[in-house]
């Protein structure tokens, strides 16, 4: 890609912050796609078509990354020299690891016993945990500029999102 588009936030004319107005992001995304989508150049020259495809792919990538809190936080960390390295870096605070273990056990049990009430309690707990992690991320990224701490929180958030998906699958089975 060209060096002219260095940053996902700048592409959409947004401040590079974790706190983000989802509506503003979506509007900016659509405004950019309206200009660059290959459909706008269907009868254009080969050069225009190629440039349009690159830009539209770039806008899709940027939008997909920024729209989810996880993608946005990971992107900010990487931009500031604190890559996530989820595969190799599994170090987490002991307290979080213990909680993770407890949640997993509770999920296995609730799933085994097909217990909707237990699943609903887990849903509440994971929602609270997610909200707490998101506010901690906002503090680390937007106020303290502590990207190493934020990268650790991103790894926790990855677990939370994965757990949430498994919980949803278990709820669908039980329903």
């Amino acid at each position: 890609m060209t060096a002219r588009a260095p940053d996902h936030f700048a592409l959409f004319g947004l401040e590079p912050r974790f706190a983000l107005d989802a509506e503003a992001l979506e509007q900016a995304y659509r405004r950019v796609q309206e200009q660059v989508h290959p459909d706008r150049f269907a009868t254009g020259s080969a050069a225009e078509k190629r440039v349009a495809m690159q830009w539209a792919a770039r806008a899709n990538e940027a939008f997909q990354t920024l729209r989810s809190p996880l993608g946005r936080a990971a992107y900010l960390c990487e931009r500031h020299g604190a890559p996530i390295h989820a595969e190799s870096n599994t170090a987490m605070p002991e307290e979080f690891l213990e909680r993770q273990l407890a949640l997993r056990e509770a999920l296995d049990e609730a799933r085994g016993e097909r217990d909707p009430a237990a699943l609903a309690r887990l849903r509440d707990e994971i929602r609270r945990l997610r909200e707490d992690t998101l506010s901690a991320l906002a503090a680390a990224l937007d106020r303290e500029g502590d990207y190493r701490r934020a990268a650790g929180l991103v790894r926790q958030l990855m677990f939370i999102e994965k757990f949430g998906a498994e919980l949803a699958a278990a709820e669908a089975e039980t329903a």
């Binding site: 401040e15 290959p38 269907a42």
Partner: protein
């Protein structure tokens, strides 16, 4: 002032001249072509006023080809050379085709895509489809009185990369410039103007002659997302005809008819079925061989009763698609009906009962897909005036794309439902010391095992410098364009040694193959081919000259004097060469101007985006 010399008579058309563009529904049973004239989309009929072209091609020993009704008439007498429903074979191998043993064709099991041996030689499904598209192109050109700038061609939403690529190749072979491949349910929704409706989930229920498709679409401000698709590739209006035919046999106490009686009675049964869509009863009258008469009356409710199990199959499939999408019938805001078989009242009633609302039937269900495609073609051709109704379709890729990794597992690179176009890269490494080559196997599908997915392409990256295991960095880039077509490239990044390759999946035709097929195509004398190639290149040259002049006028300040002089030089060169009759020279000059303006195009795009975001911290946008 250089510009004044450039805009010479004959090179620059009148402003706002309408560009001729069509939408084509390349269907399993029938195909149609439609265009927008005076802001209204309309299907173009043949000289006898028939809008549908049966998707049937017959090859004859003398090398001539029959397409449509003419070919259909010979299906019973010359089944081996009369190819029906070729769409089922596009991008498929023999083992992919269901009930292949019941088909009358002499298949050749070529790798990637099957071929069919006919009396006129071995034909690929791409060539057969191209015959259908060529007839539609000629129909459109004679009706509209000029060459087409391009066509939008519809494909089923679930078509994978192989099937889309085959469709695109067929269009090229038929001399069509493909503006876009468009999903059929999306086209149907466009015909109904759902793009400007409020957000919501829509179902498209498509019961054709031989296939049933159900699609669940989500519309969000011009984004059409396919949430789920389902259906039955062996269920359609023909099965209703057959049921009625069997009933007639029972009633008339007949059995084992000779082929001509079977086909006569089937035709009568179909006519009765169609009559029952508007009347309470219909008659089946036929004079069979040996002087036997059939004279029966069928009531609508009797017919509905004997075919209810067929309708129920479609309803079950629709329920499954809804379940796959995680939705309930009540979540669906509207149901679009596609395909002639949806005219049957008991089909409509079953759909209405399932979704709890009357389905949309205002547009002719045979034409709705072609009409939507025509609207999109008109937009893409640039015929919309400022202030016209406008929309942007952001389509998604229907199936995930990935690579084979150790143990026959799939590493997913681009997940299904990603908005396209998209480019994504993933790094891999070597697993042996001194490894200098790496096999790359590209697959498409949702399963974890390579053997359960469709194999798209295999290629080898060679020339990796010998390193310790795990030291090399192989970057594999997947790019999917706005038609959902994939290209893959790979390169080793640590060594500075560039080993790079771009593959087109194996079933795709090369430019040389297309050229050879064009040369061989029957009915096209060599002079015609050359004349057509020249005209195409001249049209292309004119379009590029026009676009470049407009770009220079609008954004010429983005170039410095030297850059501008170079663009103008290439422009003058193309204008000169385009006056001649050497189509290859014109193509070369087009490529040169096109390459020479790439940087200019990129700068203009930057400016456009800045303008679009103007007022939103413009200093932050795309810093140089």
């Amino acid at each position: 002032m250089a510009l004044l010399q450039i805009a010479e008579p004959g090179m620059s058309p009148a402003p706002h001249e309408r560009r001729l563009a069509v939408g084509i529904d390349l269907g399993t049973t029938n195909s149609l072509v439609a265009t927008v004239r005076n802001s209204v989309a309309d299907v173009l009929a043949d000289e006898q006023g028939r809008p549908l072209l049966p998707s049937v091609v017959r090859y004859r020993a003398d090398g001539s080809v029959e397409v449509g009704f003419e070919a259909l008439a010979h299906q019973a007498t010359d089944p081996r050379n009369t190819i029906v429903s070729v769409k089922r074979f596009m991008g498929r191998s023999v083992k992919d085709v269901e009930h292949v043993e019941n088909l009358p064709y002499d298949f050749v099991d070529t790798p990637g895509m099957l071929q069919i041996r006919t009396v006129a030689g071995v034909k690929s499904p791409v060539e057969v489809s191209a015959e259908i598209l060529r007839v539609l192109r000629e129909r459109a050109e004679s009706a509209l009185g000029g060459d087409l700038v391009g066509a939008v061609i519809t494909v089923p939403a679930y078509f994978d990369d192989a099937q889309r690529q085959a469709t695109r190749d067929a269009a090229r072979l038929a001399g069509l410039n493909v503006l876009r491949l468009l999903n059929e349910p999306t086209a149907a929704a466009l015909a109904y103007g759902l793009d400007n409706a409020a957000e919501g989930v829509y179902a498209v229920y498509d019961l054709g002659g031989g296939t049933f498709d159900i699609s669940i679409l989500k519309l969000t401000k011009g984004v059409f997302e396919v949430l789920a698709t389902g259906g039955d590739t062996a269920l359609g209006g023909d099965d209703f005809d057959h049921r009625l035919y069997c009933w007639a046999l029972e009633q008339a106490d007949l059995s084992l008819l000779p082929p001509e009686d079977t086909s006569l009675l089937t035709v009568k049964a179909r006519a009765a079925k169609e009559a029952l869509s508007t009347k309470d009863s219909a008659t089946i009258q036929a004079r069979l061989s040996k002087g036997r008469w059939v004279n029966l009356t069928i009531k609508r409710d009797i017919f509905a009763g004997m075919t209810q199990h067929l309708v129920q199959k479609t309803i079950d499939a629709a329920r499954r698609a809804l379940r796959d999408a995680g939705l309930k019938p009540a979540d669906v805001k509207g149901v679009v009906m596609v395909g002639g078989a949806t005219r049957m009242p008991h089909v409509r009633k079953a759909v209405a009962d399932l979704f709890g609302q009357e389905p949309l039937i205002d547009i002719d269900p045979d034409k709705v897909v072609a009409l939507g495609a025509a609207k999109q073609a008109n937009l893409l051709a640039g015929n919309h005036a400022p202030g016209d109704d406008d929309w942007l379709l952001l389509d998604v890729i229907p199936l995930s794309l990935g690579l084979e990794t150790m143990g026959g597992l799939v590493e997913r690179i681009i997940p299904r439902n990603s908005t396209i176009p998209i480019a994504r890269a993933q790094e891999f490494t070597t697993f042996r010391d001194g490894q200098t080559a790496m096999a790359i196997h590209v697959v498409q599908g949702e399963r974890e095992l390579v053997s359960d997915c469709r194999s798209l392409a295999r290629f080898e990256l060679r020339g990796i410098p010998p390193m310790a295991a795990g030291a090399a960095r192989i970057r594999v880039t997947f790019q999917v364009d706005a038609d959902g077509l994939l290209s893959v490239s790979a390169r080793e990044t640590t060594s500075g040694v560039e080993a790079s390759i771009v593959v087109k999946p194996s079933y795709g035709l090369t430019d040389e193959e297309i050229a050879r097929m064009l040369q061989e195509s029957i009915g096209a004398a060599e002079a015609d081919v050359a004349a057509r190639a020249l005209r195409e290149q001249q049209v292309e040259a004119q379009r590029l000259v026009e676009a470049t002049i407009a770009a220079l006028a609008a954004d010429g300040d983005l170039l410095d004097d030297d850059e501008r002089a170079e663009v103008e030089r290439l422009l003058r060169e193309l204008i000169d060469i385009a006056r001649g009759d050497d189509h290859l020279a014109i193509k070369t000059a087009i490529d040169r101007l096109s390459r020479g303006t790439e940087e200019f195009a990129a700068r203009r795009m930057d400016r456009t985006i800045r303008a679009a975001l103007a007022g939103r911290r413009i200093d932050e946008v795309l810093p140089e």
